[in-house]
Subunit: 388 residues, 4 copies
Amino acid sequence: MAQTICVGVIGMGWMGQVHSRSYNVIKDRFYDEGLLPKLVICSDNVEARAKEAAERFGFEQYTTNWQEVVNHPDVQIINVATPNGLHHEINRAIAKAGKAINCEKPVGKNPDETISSYEDAKAAGVVTFVGFNYRWAPMVQYAKQLVEAGELGEITHYRGRFLNGYAGDPNNFLSWRFLSEQGLGTLGDLMSHAIDMAHLINGGIDTLVGDKETFITQRPIPTPGVGTHYDKATGKEPKGDVTNEDYVGALVRFKNGARGTLEACRVINGAKCDLSFEIHGTKGAIKWNMEQMNELQFQQKMGDNPAQDGYKTLLSGPAHPYHARFNPGWGVNIGFDDLKVIEAYNFLKSYATGEQREPSFKAAYDVAQVQKAIMRSWESAGWETVQY
Amino acid sequence: MAQTICVGVIGMGWMGQVHSRSYNVIKDRFYDEGLLPKLVICSDNVEARAKEAAERFGFEQYTTNWQEVVNHPDVQIINVATPNGLHHEINRAIAKAGKAINCEKPVGKNPDETISSYEDAKAAGVVTFVGFNYRWAPMVQYAKQLVEAGELGEITHYRGRFLNGYAGDPNNFLSWRFLSEQGLGTLGDLMSHAIDMAHLINGGIDTLVGDKETFITQRPIPTPGVGTHYDKATGKEPKGDVTNEDYVGALVRFKNGARGTLEACRVINGAKCDLSFEIHGTKGAIKWNMEQMNELQFQQKMGDNPAQDGYKTLLSGPAHPYHARFNPGWGVNIGFDDLKVIEAYNFLKSYATGEQREPSFKAAYDVAQVQKAIMRSWESAGWETVQY
Amino acid sequence: MAQTICVGVIGMGWMGQVHSRSYNVIKDRFYDEGLLPKLVICSDNVEARAKEAAERFGFEQYTTNWQEVVNHPDVQIINVATPNGLHHEINRAIAKAGKAINCEKPVGKNPDETISSYEDAKAAGVVTFVGFNYRWAPMVQYAKQLVEAGELGEITHYRGRFLNGYAGDPNNFLSWRFLSEQGLGTLGDLMSHAIDMAHLINGGIDTLVGDKETFITQRPIPTPGVGTHYDKATGKEPKGDVTNEDYVGALVRFKNGARGTLEACRVINGAKCDLSFEIHGTKGAIKWNMEQMNELQFQQKMGDNPAQDGYKTLLSGPAHPYHARFNPGWGVNIGFDDLKVIEAYNFLKSYATGEQREPSFKAAYDVAQVQKAIMRSWESAGWETVQY
Amino acid sequence: MAQTICVGVIGMGWMGQVHSRSYNVIKDRFYDEGLLPKLVICSDNVEARAKEAAERFGFEQYTTNWQEVVNHPDVQIINVATPNGLHHEINRAIAKAGKAINCEKPVGKNPDETISSYEDAKAAGVVTFVGFNYRWAPMVQYAKQLVEAGELGEITHYRGRFLNGYAGDPNNFLSWRFLSEQGLGTLGDLMSHAIDMAHLINGGIDTLVGDKETFITQRPIPTPGVGTHYDKATGKEPKGDVTNEDYVGALVRFKNGARGTLEACRVINGAKCDLSFEIHGTKGAIKWNMEQMNELQFQQKMGDNPAQDGYKTLLSGPAHPYHARFNPGWGVNIGFDDLKVIEAYNFLKSYATGEQREPSFKAAYDVAQVQKAIMRSWESAGWETVQY
């Protein structure tokens, strides 16, 4: 039976828009599942943005007051896509209202807030979800299947990273992203994806030792109202200090015995969206990179025929998880937004069935614990144990 | 001012669905353009399919009678996505009704029907469009810009092809796709994309010489009602003859003096969706392949610094045409369905403004003339001139 | 038992040097084979070159008169690496002298001369060899094994080409390479490699239709004594007409039923040494490119597991033919000169055992017959049958 | 003026052979340099190997007693290619004899021996060289030039690694390579290359923190006389403990402020000879991998034209360092052995001119200091400073 689920969305920037448009195609993409999200109300503190979103996506109402979304009597599930600093307070209010939450990552502006949000939701017994969207690439899901099926044997190495240059220009303004009082830098942002991917593919981390660096130490101070981290300064503005990290690196020992590294940087050159991993086991190996999200490199040891031992390039197609929801063709690419549709489906399905799927706030909590261990390691200059 | 445009869709298989879902996101993806397509009525000869489509995409009505779509008083524009053999009759009816047409390729089951549809539409003065969707990849559009801006110098070579294995299994049923009385084989299907791409990137063809082959000469005869070319036989069915071509190849001389090849095959191994081109000029070269649709290989001669002469791999991003309509990220892939959205936008824009954009039925006519020249060459075993 | 074989080399340009240095490492690289080539005499019409070669490689004597090499009483085998126009006369003299010949390609400046050289050698009963060196890449030899073992099933397509830009600068002098009275252009030079590779991998050609073009129609006339095709003009020299072809293309039908294309160009941009082939069969496919000569792309159909169907990248290693002669490491590249060592070994082995290996002048004859068919097709503007 | 230099080689396994054959082509490859190495005497404790080497490479004498090589009155320079455990004693004797030394890496079986060898040679004032051969790839040398010329701007990241599976089979015998009393494991072997490469490309390391692991903890005990690490056991042999490390990882902070990682493993799957690096700066980035040693990935920021920002693939050619010594062709690969020829040339040139080139024992000393810091970090579980 088809089930209508009433939705509110808070924060109508890029991610709020992506979440909204994802709901609008669920009925089509997952037709046989009978999930019918209904866009009830959206909010943004900039009224024009809220209004435009309502028009674009068909929300019945809009508001500049997020509490109205939380308290709307019809709304059953709420997506949170505000700046990171507001997540914690909003999540708490939603949990209190007993509604399901899909919060963009990071769930809190720092690990403690994330942990707190997790505990709030757990106490309230609500369904949760977090926007670790790269998980949903069919080739990532397929990699997970291969690892779980033992196709790589016992895992010996895992390397994960997220190299991105979105903040690579020193003339990007000193937005909230660069200020420690408003949250972590790369560790909270890019690294959270790399950690979640490691958890998905290779499981928990036992101990680690981390490093960090800030390469661009000062940035132009924005005039109130303008100057997000995407805008560029004229060069004549006064400058202020960047107070959180551009780069994070870690050596990690996984619970399964594998060794490896995690790295992320927001000011790197060359890489565009290089969220990638390599995993090696006693029987095979896999490589994947978000920049070629429709491909997977897969190797299996050919003991008796080493002449045919090499990485195979697999192209996403209907035999891989979820791909056929989008098209029936081999080598016919799906896009990033499609990953958010899969995410929305899994959140809705969790809500509709009451069976919590992952990544929930528990997944965010796990990432937060790794982040905390990395932060402790920055202080101790030594190895730290992750406290899941 | 926003403009509501009433839409009918005929034929609700994969392509009919893709066209319908494209309309549903136009308001969002091209928000500033004020185009508001409204899904009025769809049809399919299988009622369940029409009904499901109406539900999935929100058509107000559905029918099993395509004439109802054509004659619906509200409907202004109509998409045709039936089996190829019906295109001609339907296109003629739509043109007669004075409505705009977006017909999937091939416009006719053979070049003459395509030419006839073009003439019908021209006589009726209606806006037309054809589903040469691969054109719309941002990296293809960018390649076109580079060529037009002279970044490659004078063009010397162009190689285009479409290698696909969708019919590679000899146990695929002998559907209408394999019967000459129902239309061309690979020349009408895959090759039409390769020819259109050549026209887009490198312009018109002067003369050519072609070849063809059928590699799988017999296929199982389907029981009525089952057995499309995607289904597999048990192996016990009686077999019938394949009467159109699996493979087409041609040597071509372009009007601009470039030399090259065109090839297509529907039964090839290895390639998945290898619609690709290479273009070389006196100053540079470009390579593109649909299997990595978000990438472009671009080389420019480095006369004074040969140590730095090589192909650069560009990843689709917001500085490339249309990409920012889908996401603001570098290296954040868009998908195949997004190309159909761009196509729908350009068709709507043509209709709304009355300024015919390409690819219209004229583009299909041009492809048909190349197909006719290839067919003449099969007969003459010699070079033929394209009669645009 | 080790066998000393006395060698003469005629023509000490790049290729003459490569041949000479190959002989010097045979004892080492093929130690167990007991082949001991001894460099007796070399010649070049430029004395300084002959003298330098004698010093570099340890020839006992040098001369400016190639007849001395032919007639030297000790010399048993002779390598011919002069400009193409002299090959025929020299080959004839060597055959008459009853000595073995390893001639660089093309064996004749045109196909008729090649055929004549073949017949001379056959009449004389001497061992012959030709410098189709790209054959010897371990990954090419391995590809041949895979095809012969039926790993690709029945072959349906073969595409071969040699794209190179060595003559891409219009200021390259009008050397002998660009004058028809001194021989063919690209058809004789680059295309001969592409044809030989097709013969090796996919066997004989039944019929074909060809095209040609000259893109750079005039070049600066060199002052006698300077100005090879590698030198550049000042731009003030008078210009003369290029009278042979820059580009050759052909559609081909192979004897085994496969269809495909052959192409070569000497003035192309982007490609550096793109001698490459793709071969597709009913069970698999292979791609190889000289620019990555240590790699092979190998696909096999995964009927029951399409999720794992893709091209595998194999890196040359000790399990592939000849690789272990050069190093015992996987992924440890060998180089182009090593291919000439393998060639020299096979020539020596042919001479030592009297069992003619390939590519002999027969292979050159076969290539010449394809060239002749292409030339006839230029005239007839239609399909021609190859007369092997 | 040509200069004859008398050579001795100690240890005639793979590397001793490669060194010997390199000398034999110096006169040819570096003809204009006038360096004439003469192979006087070689030694190996297995007489048959010494004898074979003398025959293959043309040594005047051979012996089973390495002291004879050291003390031979004619010998001026000596290459050391024995098992690692003997290097120190032999190097000391050579230094004492006042002769030049080219020792394979690692110079000592552990860092202290390497340091000691460095000091011995320094005290004796002899020219030294070490077999960090991957340095000599033209594309690596070119990368170094680009970095030094500031083409990447200020360096922010460097990642180096050497992933190899040569010991990946648990049935490889427990040879000296796996026993700590005979030296380090991966840290001494593969990692030394990765560290030297980092020094070459990015300079000195300030501090680091390291990790290690042994994945295959037991291996079959070899019968005396058979069973190197390349041989395979029957599976019935008794097993002994592997007492040194399979894997080493480190986080590093370079003196120039860059952050990064170093990793090496000898039992990994998938990688064949993945000695690779990535370096990122404020203006550009470079990637290189020994598996494709003839290629370089080079990116430069395109501030004003982000649509054209991407990695360019450069193919080794005559405009890159040393390539033209081997062939004049673009995209015409050179091989691994050619790198050893370049190494031999630089050693000979150092000896002939008295101007010590790098990598000398000083480079090995520098690597040893990094190794020592990593070993200290294993103990301290914290960051350590490198004591160059």
